[in-house]
């Protein structure tokens, strides 16, 4: 009997935002759900996030963004993954995300959008379904 490969996730806090309660909480929840979780720490540039994702061979990057800059940051990261031929790494985003921004995020290639308060179970199921 083979055990399925564990999903490896990088929870990342891009750029300057320091509100990391949500990032830490979801890191603990995903770990409890049996996933392998790496937490980037704060103030990560996209270069640092992409480097960590490569070095750690993660399957997914989970961005946590509270500042309202989610559209710009997701666009930049997805573009960067594509140009580095890393587009097998999926990207999801959580944080303070208005309803109107969800569809534009999905349209640009974000694999999941989880506004604050989304139940852990829903996030875990959505991520599991990607692999």
């Amino acid at each position: 009997m083979t055990t399925p490969k564990k999903i490896r996730i990088l929870i990342a806090k891009p750029d300057l935002d320091g509100h990391d309660r949500g990032a830490k909480v979801i890191a603990l929840a995903l770990r409890d759900a049996g996933m392998e979780v790496i937490y980037s720490g704060l103030h990560q540039s996209l270069d640092q996030i992409v480097n960590t994702a490569t070095q750690e061979s993660v399957d997914l990057i989970g961005l946590s963004i509270m500042t309202g800059a989610h559209l710009q940051i997701c666009r930049r990261l997805l573009g960067r993954l594509k140009s580095d031929a890393l587009d097998h790494v999926r990207v999801v985003v959580g944080g303070v995300i208005p309803k109107d921004d969800i569809q534009p995020l999905i349209d640009m290639g974000t694999a999941g959008v989880f506004p604050g308060g989304t139940p852990f179970e829903e996030i875990i199921d959505a991520i599991s379904a990607l692999f």
Partner: protein
């Protein structure tokens, strides 16, 4: 989010109530409870305005003076912020509390590539004294005190505040500023840190020493249990962390050969109000008392005013919800009530739309009106500490005091606050509390109205403060113009002087004031510190 746990039977009767700080609440309290816990009115309460200040810092409480209202304000360029400042003051606000954008808080100029997308977003963009000249135009510096919500480079902003006041003709002795300036709290909870622990704490020490000598009306540090609580800590942990942080700063300055008696009276606190009403009220009463007792016993502080736990007790944002946002108006009113019953000297509320973005003028004004209604209509100014002597409140205040001391001992067992932060032990503890609470909310063990109970009905969309992309362009253009117009040779000379001062571990404040006057930018001044001190590497938590 901060609600107690209620264990109920099948008929919905409450069997057990457990507050977040870990205190079990009885269905009935009477005199026996006070006796059992050793309550003594003379030593536990005293008179209002007398040691240990459990009841109030002042003999007449709000009768002599209502609280100061100080809503957190700032966005876009200094021009937008100046308009909002004047709007709030014209509606009765009695102090300012400046919000800076993230590039400013992180010491980056608006034209730094890392600032992209963040200019003027969560606060006002500030690059140089020129921006302060616009932001504080027509603000009466001698009458309005200003909180500067900035930490890693609070030295720079305090220097800039002095420079702008002097430019407008106010003597530095007349100005009242409270830079937040609590870097250890940033490392635990808010994340706007730059430098490693040791030089970061030394910079806090520099501002305290400088304010003591040069700025007699400034409070150089505002120790923030607030953000630690927002990050998940219990109310008892919030106060314990704040006090252990305060001790670290006291000791940094005392190590310079300065008597704590000469500066602790200038410390202020920023504490959080949300969650259970009684736990909050007891927390503030216990905290006032413990602070005075601790200063007296550990540092030999004598003067009455130096024993005051002064500060802002502000409505906590993490108590507010994105769901059914109008409920936040009601929640905040109760938080303000808790602050008033807890004897808050200064207060502010998060606005009902802040789970989405920074507040619209209408929402900010509603927060101010909520505070004004409490003081002007409801009767909170009538008599000092109206809950004093209650069997329940006095028992709970004693229990909170014991819990806070217990949490302080846990931090001491981690090696003290500096070590607890450097190792990440305290950050992990706070994150675990946040996770446990989130689970309780999702399991419905803790109730949040509109979130996991009573969720039916409309979900009205709120009118949102819009971010204007053109602010970034305006700010960058203005910065470029400044770089062309100022005396660059003077700036370079002063930045070199700053570098040498930082290297020699001499107080950086006087040189920073000179740098600000010469229109050195926030990025340049902070950049000097980055070069000399390096940047903090967060401990790996998981």
């Amino acid at each position: 989010m901060g609600v107690a746990r209620y264990i109920k039977n099948e008929k919905d009767a409450i069997q057990e109530v457990i507050y977040q700080s870990g205190i079990k609440i009885k269905p009935v309290y009477n005199k026996n409870d006070l006796d059992a816990i050793g309550f003594d009115a003379a030593t536990d309460l005293g008179e209002p305005g007398a040691f240990p200040f459990t009841r109030s810092l002042h003999p007449q409480g709000y009768r002599s003076r209502a609280w100061t209202t100080r809503q957190y304000t700032g966005f876009g360029t200094p021009t937008e912020t100046n308009e909002r400042f004047k709007y709030m003051i014209s509606h009765g606000q009695s102090g300012l509390n400046v919000a800076f954008d993230l590039p400013t808080q992180m010491g980056l100029d608006s034209d730094d590539p890392r600032a992209e997308g963040e200019i003027g977003r969560v606060g006002m963009a500030v690059d140089s004294l020129r921006d302060f000249e616009i932001a504080f135009q027509d603000i009466p510096f001698d009458r309005i005190g200003t909180g500067l919500t900035i930490n890693a480079n609070a030295t720079v902003m305090l220097a800039m505040y002095q420079a702008v006041a002097e430019k407008f003709g106010y003597a530095k002795e007349k100005i009242s500023a409270t830079p937040q300036n609590d870097i250890l709290k940033e490392m635990i909870g808010r994340g706007a840190w730059i430098f490693p622990v040791e030089p970061a704490v030394r910079l806090v020490g520099d501002t305290i020493e400088y304010a003591m000598q040069e700025l007699p009306r400034c409070n150089p540090v505002s120790i923030c249990g607030y953000h630690i609580r927002e990050s998940g800590a219990t109310p008892a942990q919030e106060i314990a962390c704040a006090f252990e942080i305060a001790k670290t700063y006291i000791e940094n300055v005392a190590d310079r050969g300065i008597d704590p008696e000469d500066f602790v009276g200038r410390f202020s606190f920023n504490l959080n109000v949300f969650g259970n009403l009684w736990e909050q009220v007891a927390k503030f009463r216990a905290a006032r008392k413990l602070w005075a007792k601790m200063l007296r016993s550990e540092y030999g502080i004598k003067a009455k005013k130096n024993l005051f736990l002064r500060g802002l007790f502000g409505g906590g944002g993490s108590g507010l919800t994105k769901e059914q946002p109008e409920n936040n108006i009601i929640r905040s009113a109760y938080y303000a009530l808790a602050a008033a019953l807890g004897g808050a000297q200064t207060t502010a509320l998060c606005s009902f739309d802040e789970a989405y973005t920074i507040p619209t003028p209408r929402a900010a004004l509603l927060s101010l009106r909520t505070l004004e209604i409490l003081m002007e209509e409801v009767g909170l100014r009538d008599t000092v500490d109206p809950l004093a002597g209650s069997y329940f409140i006095e028992t709970l205040t004693k229990e909170m005091e014991a819990k806070i001391l217990e949490e302080m001992q846990r931090i001491q067992a981690m090696g003290g606050m500096t070590q607890a932060v450097a190792s990440g032990a305290i950050q992990l503890e706070v994150a675990r509390q946040a996770y446990e609470f989130e689970k309780a909310l999702q399991n419905k063990e803790a109730v949040k109205v509109g979130v996991n109970k009573y969720t039916e009905g409309d979900h009205p969309e709120v009118e949102l403060h819009a971010y204007n992309e053109s602010w970034a362009e305006t700010q960058i253009d203005s910065l470029k113009q400044l770089r062309r117009e100022r005396d660059s040779r003077e700036v370079i000379g002063l930045l070199n002087k700053l570098k040498q001062t930082a290297r020699d571990k001499i107080n950086v404040m006087p040189v920073l004031v000179e740098c600000c006057r010469a229109y050195a930018t926030v990025g340049e001044m902070t950049g000097v510190f980055r070069e000399v001190y390096g940047e903090w590497q967060e401990p790996n938590l998981f």
